[in-house]
């Protein structure tokens, strides 16, 4: 309990990270409130096309070329972006941690095999790889999430392997072995809890990357055609970029803000979780 409190205090000392948390909470609130604030489908035509922001109080962020409410799109898109970002990161972190922990703990043949596979994945450019996977699997929220998880786990695996390599030689791990504790129990109760800090930091930054990747896929038309995401609004707005730049700029700004906030939070977590910087 004390540890959590002192961690919160260290984290709160970093104003930028705190601002990041506030922005994220706001985006999260947008996502959660979308069905209530904008109960109608964001795909519905509700007004004239090309209503500029501020022109009409009914659609305060304006409308796109089909007369759809941009504000509704931003709210519903927040849900899609955040869901995909967090779920993909969770999957990638779980899988990467499993692979990294086994490789780092057992070394030898297991390490060689697992790490060669990891490197194989790392050699393929992430975004191109994600495009290929989505193109093969057909675009849907589930498949986009899986594709993003599939391209992002290797970096987690490498990080975790390194942490486990360092921790497995520590005396408390040897002490656990000397009381007869089994390997899996040692990994789960002794090693991984001590590697959690860096994993959490990497995870928070990975959410940002995942959101960007999702937006990129949607921009290229590889998003789920049935849900409106920030990327798909940008993708649609690109045709009217010269006459109505606000259609791309508004969701673009939402992405910028969210990714920036996640990076600030990641930095803050890094500082707060890194014991060497505790007194900074």
């Amino acid at each position: 309990m004390n540890g959590i409190l002192s961690f919160a205090r260290r984290f709160a000392r970093n104003r930028a990270a705190l601002a990041g948390v506030l922005v994220l909470l706001f985006v999260g609130a947008m996502a959660l409130s979308a069905p209530f604030v904008y109960p109608s489908d964001p795909w519905d035509m509700v007004t004239m096309p090309f209503v500029w922001p501020g022109e009409d109080a009914e659609v305060w962020l304006g409308s796109d070329m089909m007369g759809r409410d941009l504000a509704s799109g931003i709210f519903h898109g927040a849900k899609v972006s955040l869901t995909i970002g967090f779920v993909a990161t969770l999957l990638a972190t779980l899988f990467g941690t499993l692979v990294g922990a086994l490789a780092g703990y057992y070394l030898g043949l297991a390490d060689t095999l697992l790490m060669r596979v990891t490197e194989l994945f790392q050699t393929i450019p992430q975004f191109i790889f994600a495009i290929v996977v989505v193109a093969i699997l057909t675009p849907s929220v589930t498949n986009v999430t899986l594709a993003i998880a599939l391209v992002s786990w290797p970096s987690v695996a490498r990080l975790v392997r390194g942490e486990v390599l360092a921790l497995r030689e520590r005396e408390f791990v040897q002490a656990s072995r000397s009381i007869g504790m089994g390997d899996l129990r040692i990994i789960a109760t002794q090693i991984l809890p001590n590697a959690l800090g860096p994993i959490i930091v990497m995870g928070s930054l990975m959410v940002a990357t995942a959101i960007l990747t999702e937006a990129g896929l949607a921009f290229l038309g590889l998003g789920d055609p049935n849900v409106m995401s920030w990327g798909s609004i940008i993708g649609a707005g690109r045709d009217a970029l010269r006459s109505a730049w606000y259609i791309t700029a508004i969701p673009g700004f939402a992405i910028l803000l969210t990714v920036l906030a996640l990076n600030l939070v990641g930095e803050g977590l890094n500082d707060a979780l890194n014991p060497r910087l505790k007194n900074r």
């Binding site: 520590r170 002490a175 007869g180 001590n194």
Partner: protein, 356 residues
């Protein structure tokens, strides 16, 4: 059978990565009697800790055998080894690294009992409280994390954990070398009290001769992966037979400014690399009395008198050291050349506590 731990010809080699092999432990045999403290001394890098961890099965031995209470524990399947581990426990060197920072002290002490399926939850809790009391820590320590304790207190926690399974033998790997001098005596006295109460046997690994002189019944001297001399503490201090033991004892500082040390030639050179140990006797490259035979023939531990074992070709020769052969003197029971300026501990506890 009186020995609780019997190590026979234990070998631990590590691959050095470039195809060469580090001969960390090379054919070590020793036995530990019930309730006895056997100290293992030697310079850094001589393989003391590796020997301890290999006996503990934290490193898989390259060859050789380790018997605890007459049962072989090397090359066992994990499950079979798990139950045998109860009899053999370890106290680690660094009290800051040997406790998981994320686990409360109570949990750390309960873990051995959980892993070994001992007792229900309530009994385990009681056992934890009892352990804390035995090592002199307050009962509320159970709910706290290791970082809230000092080095000495943490080492007490480490000792309590080693004690949790009622072991017969505890390997103490430099248990006080990371501690402030002021708390060393407390921890050493705690170990002594526990030994008496529970009839424990210690394999006490240390490079600090003043500590070894204080805690040991017998002492084994290790050089470059091999044991060169084993004797009862008084015997070793009074009549060291191996030239390395003599050099080691001479090098120990004497805490008495009024006694001047006699100037005796110091050991020259460095410890050779364990990847490429010298042929024959490993000490010959630094030995002041080496002869050609030492390069050709490996000296084996030989009983000089009454369990005073030495591995040196020249220990039994006449005129090896000033005033005649060492072993002959030992055999004759004559007082050996007194260690220059060295006080032979008459009352080890008082000397050690005074020093510490």
């Amino acid at each position: 059978m009186t020995n609780v731990l019997l190590v026979n010809d234990l070998v631990k080699h590590f691959p050095a990565g470039d195809g060469r092999v580090v001969h960390a432990v090379d054919g070590v045999s020793l036995e530990l009697d019930r309730g006895e403290t056997l100290s293992l001394v030697g310079e850094s890098g001589c393989g003391k800790s590796t020997l301890g961890k290999t006996i503990m099965q934290l490193h898989a031995p390259t060859s050789g055998s380790v018997m605890v209470e007459g049962r072989e524990i090397t090359r066992l399947p994990k499950r079979a080894l798990r139950t045998l581990r109860r009899d053999l426990q370890m106290v680690f060197q660094d009290p800051f690294a040997s406790l998981n920072p994320r686990v409360t002290v109570g949990r750390a002490l309960e873990e051995p009992l959980i892993v070994q399926n001992q007792g229900a939850r309530k009994e385990r809790r009681e056992r934890v409280a009892w352990l804390l009391e035995k090592v002199g820590l307050p009962a509320d320590a159970a709910g706290r994390h290791p970082h809230e304790f000092s080095g000495g207190q943490r080492q007490r926690i480490g000792i309590a954990r080693a004690l949790a399974l009622n072991p017969k033998v505890i390997i103490c790997d430099e248990p006080v070398s990371a501690l402030d001098v002021s708390v060393r005596a407390q921890v050493l006295n705690l170990l002594a009290d526990l030994k008496e109460e529970f009839g424990l046997a210690y394999l006490f690994i240390s490079h600090d001769l003043s500590v070894v002189e204080y805690v040991s019944d017998r002492v084994a001297v290790m050089y470059l992966g091999r044991i060169v001399e084993v004797a009862r503490r008084e015997d070793l201090w009074a009549r060291p037979l191996h030239p390395y033991t003599r050099a080691l004892l001479d090098a120990a500082p004497v805490a008495d400014p009024s006694r001047r040390r006699a100037r005796r030639p110091r050991l020259a050179g460095e410890v050779p690399s364990p990847t490429n140990p010298p042929s024959g006797c490993r000490f010959r490259t630094r030995c002041p009395i080496a002869i050609p035979r030492c390069a050709e023939e490996v000296p084996h531990l030989t009983d000089a008198r009454d369990r005073h074992m030495v591995a040196c070709h020249r220990a039994f020769e006449a005129g090896t050291f000033e005033g005649g052969a060492l072993a002959e003197r030992a055999l004759a029971g004559a007082p050996a050349t007194p260690r220059p300026g060295g006080a032979v501990a008459s009352s080890p506890r008082s000397i050690a506590t005074a020093r510490l």
